[in-house]
């Protein structure tokens, strides 16, 4: 990730001069299209299908923002970004929002001059091993060979974890997830480590998933969230509250199915404010009354988006876990709409 930090710093430094005049909302409206930075391809989060239509968990965030701002979830131009180009694409203005499973870290938030507007997926790094290895805890991995993607935060986390627990390991460096799976299947490494969501997706794609286990230890915090540029607070607010609208909608039981009905009949004042029945919250962020309603209609509330892309009914089959609502013991907590 060194390259991206360097390029990002260059980008940030050059951007300082022009940052004052940024009005992303006006730019997006004038363009009639939201430029959304997404992953070039990550199962469940962002992937183009055979016809080039993008789907995924991150893609639905883009759609919600486009629906809120432009009134049409299809007015998104998806800009595929790699691990190296993602932050520069954002700071150079090539994309308006970066919804690309990027971890919110101190240096990215401050030094790279980005603003993470929230967390749409709480991830964490885990390990997968073959069942016949007889390992049940990551603490027993002393001396193991471990497949690890180079240039990522996971590589640093792995080193930290083994150092903290006074263990040794033999890294097998890989370049991409696909290569990692291949090496792991070929027996080049005892354990494969990456984000737990990625491990689940990988395991689900194996011919014999029952012979592999994901160890219980989660060794790092990987809060993944959409990011915008520093310095345009209005635009940051719009993206942040669009995400909160999706999360709040799930909390209050507003789904894409019952939203019209609730707009007419709901007596819950918070729902009424969210859907623009009472108060005009939209005007405070430069949008109209129905912005949140359109955002929720784009692909459903947070829970619906989760279930459709990565939930337990999909081949990836992720449990809600930390990503459940705070009322269900998770960390998803939308700030009050008031």
């Amino acid at each position: 990730m060194k390259t991206s930090v360097f390029l990002g710093s260059v980008a940030a430094a050059t951007l300082m001069a022009g940052a004052g005049a940024a009005d992303t909302l006006a730019d997006v409206k004038a363009r009639g299209e939201l430029n959304c930075g997404v992953n070039t391809g990550l199962v469940g989060f962002a992937a183009p299908d055979a016809n080039g239509n993008w789907t995924g968990f991150d893609v639905d965030i883009c759609k919600a923002v486009a629906a809120a701002v432009l009134g049409d979830p299809s007015k998104v131009k998806y800009v595929p970004t790699t691990g190296q180009t993602r932050f520069t694409a954002l700071s150079s203005g090539e994309v308006d929002v970066l919804a690309r499973n990027s971890t919110w870290t101190f240096s990215r938030d401050t030094d790279l001059k980005l603003d993470f507007i929230g967390v749409n997926y709480y991830d964490g790094q885990g390990f997968m091993v073959r069942k016949d290895l007889g390992v049940t805890s990551a603490k027993e991995l002393d001396g193991a060979t471990i497949c690890i993607q180079t240039g990522t935060t996971t590589e640093l986390n792995l080193a930290d974890y083994f150092k903290a627990n006074n263990m040794a390991y033999q890294p097998v460096n890989i370049d991409s997830n696909a290569e990692g799976e291949q090496q792991y299947m070929a027996g080049a490494c005892d354990a494969y480590t990456t984000d737990a969501s990625g491990l689940a997706a990988t395991r689900a794609a194996f011919a014999d998933p029952e012979n592999h286990i994901i160890l219980p230890e989660i060794i790092s915090k990987e809060p993944l969230g959409p990011a915008v540029r520093h310095g345009d607070n209005l635009w940051g607010d719009i993206v942040r509250w669009t995400l909160y609208a999706l999360i709040a909608a799930e909390e209050y039981g507003v789904t894409s199915k019952n939203i019209e009905e609730l707009t007419k009949s709901s007596q819950n004042p918070e729902v009424q404010r969210l859907l623009g029945v009472t108060d005009d919250l939209g005007a405070m962020i430069g949008l109209d009354k129905d912005w949140a309603k359109r955002a929720i209609l784009a692909s459903g509330n947070y829970g619906e988006i989760f279930a459709a892309n990565i939930g337990e009914q999909t081949p990836i089959g992720l449990a809600r876990g930390l990503n459940a609502q705070w009322t269900q013991g998770g960390l998803m907590y939308a700030m009050p709409f008031r």
């Binding site: 390029l7 992953n39 055979a50 800009v79 790699t82 689900a204």
Partner: protein
């Protein structure tokens, strides 16, 4: 005769013995084997090793190839079919992924209903290339153009091209076939126009844009003729400046005005829809077509007596050769955005093409400089003795020989550059090898598939590169002047 020798020679043979068959080890297959495979201890060992390696590969991968599945909707289905057909635990290749996603490997995210446009552009590429590549052989031209005509028209019909464009393509292709029989040189006009036409076909939009670009050289020629009556030097300057002024200041507005008067538009396709081999071939062909002339100019500049020209050429070549291509691509995709005024959209594919061209032009310059250096000094002196000026000497005597010497190097550079187009994956473009395969793997149906996309893409790359290499060998044979 026998009487003369009757006393001196006791016996004279007067009939010859019939020739005996050669020993078994010196004839037929055995001889071929002995000569080619077992001619000494070292070669015997190498042959045995080679056979062992081939046997190892075949025995390990044969079952995988033999158990190929072509019809399935997902990797899981492939695995189920393999398990059902060849038993539990059998493994096999799942080519169904290619069957389902081949269009993305070929066209990227280009709109499906417009697939005929890149197809037609590719077919017409052969019309543009035939008079350049096969200028001396009418027979080869006939074969190449014939195959291109049949395949292009057939594919266009299959891809539901509109009738009007079918007629256009048929007219160009069949017209080219006829013209190539009588006046092949006329086809060069098409070769010159082809780049602009190709850009229009691929990206779409208004035809007036490319047309107005074309007006530039016409104006330059006009300026050259008019000013030429005053002064030769001024005429050259005018011929260069007038088109530049036209392109930067007026061409855009003129194209817009003309478009609003008479609309000549086809649906526009944005650069982010390009991908797969469409992207590779677009970048590769443009890079190849532009880097050769640029490389020649750079090579001549580097050998020039003029200090400034020489210094600039050396600096350019050494700088570009000293920097990795990926660094140049990053500059193209990231840094240029900061230097350009905000709001200017400078097409990413165009930026990449420029960088790739500059990169391979620097290598090309060195390859051609090698050819220039290999030419005996006498050739240069002979040109001088004939009283030819610099450009005539280069054009008539030096370059034809130097380029002929450099053919293998030039084609190597081309092949290398074509393969390097896969590096655009690092700037977020969908090259066929990595980005497109990763995108395919990112769908839940095909996650976990690994070798099949690589083998498929590698095979197509091999076909194209092998074709280029065979062409270079043909060209070398055709240009051989030494033993005939």
């Amino acid at each position: 005769m026998s009487e003369t020798h009757a006393q001196t020679v006791p016996f004279v043979r007067d009939t010859m013995l019939p020739p005996a068959d050669p020993p078994v080890r010196e004839a037929g297959t055995v001889r071929w084997l002995r000569q080619n495979l077992f001619s000494g201890p070292l070669n015997t060992v190498l042959t045995v090793l080679g056979v062992l390696i081939v046997w190892f590969l075949v025995s390990h991968f044969w079952d995988w190839f033999a158990h190929s599945v072509w019809n399935a909707g997902s990797l899981a289905e492939c695995r189920r079919i393999i398990a059902e057909t060849w038993g539990e635990g059998a493994r096999g290749a799942c080519w169904a992924v290619i069957r389902e996603r081949w269009n993305q490997y070929v066209f990227g995210f280009y709109p499906v209903e417009l697939y005929w446009r890149p197809t037609m552009t590719f077919g017409l590429l052969f019309v543009a290339l035939a008079p350049v590549l096969f200028s001396e052989s009418a027979a080869i031209r006939r074969v190449v153009l014939g195959i291109a005509t049949v395949l292009t028209l057939w594919l266009m019909v299959t891809l539901n091209a509109p009738a009007l464009w079918l007629v256009f393509a048929a007219a160009v292709l069949i017209g080219a076939l006829l013209i190539s029989e009588r006046r092949p040189a006329w086809l060069l006009v098409f070769s010159v126009l082809y780049p602009l036409m190709g850009v229009w076909f691929l990206w779409g939009g208004s035809a007036w844009g490319p047309a107005m670009v074309l007006v530039g050289p016409a104006l330059g020629w006009l300026a050259w003729r008019l000013v030429g009556r005053v002064s030769g030097l001024l005429a050259t300057v005018a011929a260069l400046v007038v088109p530049l002024v036209w392109w930067t200041l007026f061409a855009g507005d003129a194209a817009r005005d003309a478009e609003s008067l008479v609309s000549l538009s086809i649906p526009a396709v944005a650069s982010d829809r390009f991908g797969g081999f469409l992207l590779s071939i677009t970048i590769g062909v443009s890079g190849i077509a532009m880097s050769l002339p640029l490389g020649i100019v750079l090579a001549l500049a580097r050998r020039s007596d003029m200090v400034l020209v020489k210094t600039l050429a050396v600096m350019f070549i050494e700088f570009i050769r000293g920097v990795p291509l990926i660094a140049l691509l990053f500059v193209a995709s990231l840094l240029l955005n900061y230097f350009l005024p905000p709001g200017t959209t400078f097409d990413i594919i165009l930026r990449v093409i420029i960088m790739v061209t500059l990169f391979s032009a620097a290598y090309m310059a060195e390859v051609i400089r090698g050819g220039l250096a290999a030419l005996p000094r006498g050739q240069y002196e002979a040109a001088d003795a004939l009283g030819l000026d610099y450009w005539k000497a280069q054009r008539l005597i030096v370059l034809p020989q130097a380029l002929k010497i450099s053919i293998p190097g030039i084609v190597s550079t081309f092949i290398g550059m074509f393969k390097d187009t896969t590096l655009v994956t690092f700037v977020g473009l969908y090259d066929p090898l990595k980005s497109m395969s990763d995108a395919v793997r990112a769908s839940t149906s095909w996650k976990g598939i690994y070798w099949e996309p690589y083998i498929f893409v590698g095979f197509i790359f091999f076909l194209i590169c092998f074709g280029m290499s065979r062409y270079s060998m043909y060209l070398e044979r055709r240009l051989a002047r030494d033993h005939r």
